[in-house]
């Protein structure tokens, strides 16, 4: 009974927060509601038995997206846009499209309740040879490693795309002394937590994306507190850090194809160390890319 009540409250809260974020009177409130929405969504994933997704949603969906939105908000010229204007006709049109769509979707989703996929059993069955003991990590870095490699390229492209939007300078104002002190004590903790998530990824929920976004959160915090110098794209070690995960992953794939049994076929006994090395490199790359997205300076200091 209490579990049922908890689920119902979470679901209603999620809907209310989504509505609030969409229809907030001003943008700032909307962004805050959106962050809260991400946190509740993370809780719901956890309730549904998907702790990996919950961690990713909390770190990326609520944390970094929230920071990105707040940063975008800070760059808006004051008093611009349509604060507090309601678009009654837009809402009606959206409802007219979405309500029938929802009805059709429910009809299609309904028969899926009884279906059972053979894949989860296959995935757990092959865990012995995969080099890791957590099925999600095995899927991400062994069975479907090619998807993960391409996902890293997606992140790189997002960064390159954002770079095209010209020199948007990130102004760090004189940091508040308390923020400075806090960030100094919080950053090592975030580093520790990130390292733990990365290491535990092989046997429990966690992994490169979650660890990377935690590290990125630490970097963003330090940058906001003015402890770190500006992150510039023209600084080549930073670019190497961004590319490291993808380069290493590709090097492993090519080496496997050239010397070994085939594209991304890890040699016997090498799966665990290779996966670990790839994960460490990917974590660093993800952390570097995400921090560049949030607090990077597009301006070229020296070409």
């Amino acid at each position: 009974m209490t579990e049922w009540l908890l689920d119902a409250v979470l679901a209603l809260l999620l809907l209310a927060l989504a509505g609030g974020a969409l229809h907030a009177r001003n943008r700032y409130a909307g962004v805050l509601l959106f962050i809260a929405f991400g946190l509740v969504l993370a809780l719901i994933w956890a309730r549904l038995g998907a702790p990996d997704l919950a961690l990713a949603e909390a770190a990326i969906g609520a944390g970094l997206t929230g920071v990105l939105l707040l940063a975008a908000l800070a760059r808006q010229p004051a008093g611009s846009g349509a604060e507090g204007v309601s678009f009654a006709r837009h809402r009606l049109a959206a409802a007219a499209v979405l309500v029938p769509l929802l009805m059709i979707l429910l009809q299609g989703l309904d028969p899926l309740a009884e279906q059972r996929s053979p894949l989860p059993e296959l995935a757990t069955g092959a865990l012995g040879q995969s080099g890791v003991s957590h099925p999600v990590t095995a899927v991400l870095l062994n069975y479907r490693a090619w998807d993960t490699l391409l996902e890293l390229a997606v992140l790189l492209l997002a960064l390159l795309g954002a770079r095209q939007l010209g020199p948007a300078r990130f102004e760090v104002e004189r940091p508040w002394p308390l923020l400075r002190a806090w960030s100094r004590s919080l950053a090592p903790l975030l580093l520790l937590a990130g390292g733990y998530l990365l290491w535990s990824g092989s046997s429990a929920p966690g992994g490169a994306f979650q660890a990377g976004s935690l590290l990125a959160a630490g970097v963003v915090l330090l940058r906001l507190a003015g402890v770190l110098p500006a992150l510039r794209w023209s600084f080549w070690p930073l670019r190497l850090l961004v590319l490291l995960g993808l380069l290493l992953f590709l090097a492993v794939a090519i080496a496997c194809a050239w010397f070994g049994a085939g594209w991304l076929v890890y040699p016997d006994g090498w799966a665990k160390p290779l996966i670990l090395v790839i994960e460490v490199a990917a974590t660093l790359s993800i952390a570097a890319s995400l921090s560049l997205l949030v607090v990077g300076e597009a301006r070229e200091a020296s070409a």
Partner: protein, 473 residues
């Protein structure tokens, strides 16, 4: 298979090294592409001898892992992608104005790698990832044109994300229903029930939005017209073909026959409308690159028509027509966009009217435009003619199919009208628009090269049909 992997890996590694080391991009990209084209040609040669090859990535069995499928068609498309990128890179290395910035080089390499991964993939979720890569690369390339292109780029990004989400929802539904993602396995399992219908509907809508098929094409003209010339060429010739390929896989492999037959009619009607509406808008467009962009919308109508009739009559020979259209349109459109970019840059105006007297001031670029236009109209012996011939053959055989042929005829007239609109202006020699500076002859020749190649397609029609026909059996 190793050669195909090489053709995919070269641009990917090349792009990463270009980002890291930042050398002067043009020469390196041309060399990478040359190697990648040769590798793809080798892969095509190999696969014609051995037949379709499969590669299980990571050494795991099919439902658990991703499979690569190297069919003759996939190999041909690999060759087509690498070759077109090479042609564009040759022009772009010469004309610096056509690229917008040094980031063009790694981005275009990533675009090629994404497409190569798309042609090879045989897994619905992996196809989603490649689609994402493809559209992010395309959006970043559009944004290279500077602040005036931000709005079209943002619209492109948002619509393409909406398309991705619809596709992903469909993939999730199919996975929930059948529990596998591999296309070959799904094709054995698929039944015509509510969930499958819904999944196919969502995926088709998403893919049609991404491929700018009528009536979901409205984002395409501003994005393609606003991008730098070399980018427009890549987008029009290659990017919209990726989602089209997935749409074709979806309906010809996975969809149950009775569903495919009823959807085929809709696709074919949408194709006719695309031909007419796209042609009409191209005829009325005030700017040269908008005209060329609308012509892409119209030409995709032929591909859609071929797909629709292929599904409706379950006539596999039409898939050869579909892929020939894609190849011929790709080559012709590269030439057209590059020529348009060169004309627009040298004459100093974006308007179609500024082309007055271009036959005197820039004869080579205008000739390239006209030659490419000839293939779009379908004049023999161009590649466009070959494709249209294949499409019309089954239409002529039975009298009840003749109304479709009238649609094709009207579309042809429309494309002739917009091509001749430009050419006729070019020959209007009274008070021609003067060139802003001395026209670059080599750049114009490089822009003409793809158009000459498309006229050569007819010369290799027999092996070409063999390569494409290998799929339809």
């Amino acid at each position: 298979m190793n050669l195909a992997l090489l053709s995919l890996t070269l641009p990917l590694v090349g792009a990463l090294l270009l980002i890291l080391l930042r050398p002067a991009g043009g020469r390196w990209v041309i060399m990478i592409n040359l190697a990648s084209t040769l590798a793809a040609a080798g892969a095509l040669h190999q696969v014609m001898q051995t037949g379709t090859q499969w590669l299980e990535l990571g050494g795991w069995q099919a439902p658990l892992a991703i499979r690569f499928q190297l069919s003759p068609l996939a190999a041909l498309l690999l060759l087509f992608t690498a070759g077109l990128h090479l042609l564009v890179a040759l022009y772009a290395a010469r004309s610096r104005h056509a690229i917008g910035g040094e980031d063009f080089w790694p981005l275009s390499c990533l675009l090629q790698a994404a497409l190569a991964a798309l042609w090879l993939s045989g897994d619905l979720f992996n196809l989603y990832v490649t689609l994402e890569l493809l559209s992010l690369a395309a959006v970043a390339l559009v944004a290279l044109a500077g602040a005036k292109a931000y709005r079209p780029a943002l619209n492109y990004l948002l619509l393409s994300l909406a398309g991705s989400l619809a596709y992903l929802f469909g993939v999730a539904l199919l996975y929930g229903r059948y529990g596998v993602l591999d296309i070959a396995l799904l094709s054995e399992l698929a039944e015509a029930d509510v969930t499958t219908r819904l999944a196919l509907l969502l995926m088709s809508l998403g893919l049609m939005l991404k491929a700018a098929l009528w009536p979901l094409h409205l984002w395409l003209p501003p994005a393609h017209a606003g991008a730098p010339a070399a980018v427009s060429a890549l987008l029009s010739a290659l990017v919209v073909k990726g989602p089209l390929y997935i749409l074709w896989l979806l309906w010809s492999r996975i969809a149950p026959v009775e569903l495919a037959q009823s959807a085929g009619g809709l696709f074919a009607v949408a194709g006719i409308f695309a031909l007419l509406c796209g042609g009409w808008s191209a005829l009325r467009a005030p700017y040269l690159k908008t005209l060329v962009a609308y012509s892409t919308v119209a030409q995709l109508g032929y591909a859609l028509l071929a797909l629709g009739l292929l599904l409706r009559w379950q006539e596999p020979s039409l898939s050869a027509a579909l892929w020939l259209f894609v190849l011929a349109h790709g080559l012709a459109k590269v030439s057209m966009f590059l020529a348009a970019g060169e004309l627009q840059y040298t004459l100093g105006s974006k308007r179609v009217r500024a082309l007055k007297g271009a036959s005197q001031t820039m004869p080579l670029a205008l000739f390239a435009f006209a030659v490419a236009g000839g293939s779009l109209i379908g004049l023999p012996p161009s590649g466009g003619f070959l494709a249209k011939w294949l499409l019309l053959q089954p239409l002529f055989q039975q009298p009840q199919h003749w109304p479709w042929a009238i649609g094709v005829l009207l579309g042809t007239l429309a494309s002739a009208a917009y091509v001749f609109r430009v050419v006729a202006l070019g020959f209007d020699r009274a008070r021609p628009t003067p060139a802003s500076f001395h026209p670059d002859r080599l750049a114009q020749w490089l822009a003409m090269l793809p158009a000459l190649l498309v006229w050569c397609l007819a010369l290799i029609s027999k092996p070409l049909l063999l390569w494409i026909g290998g799929v339809s059996q």
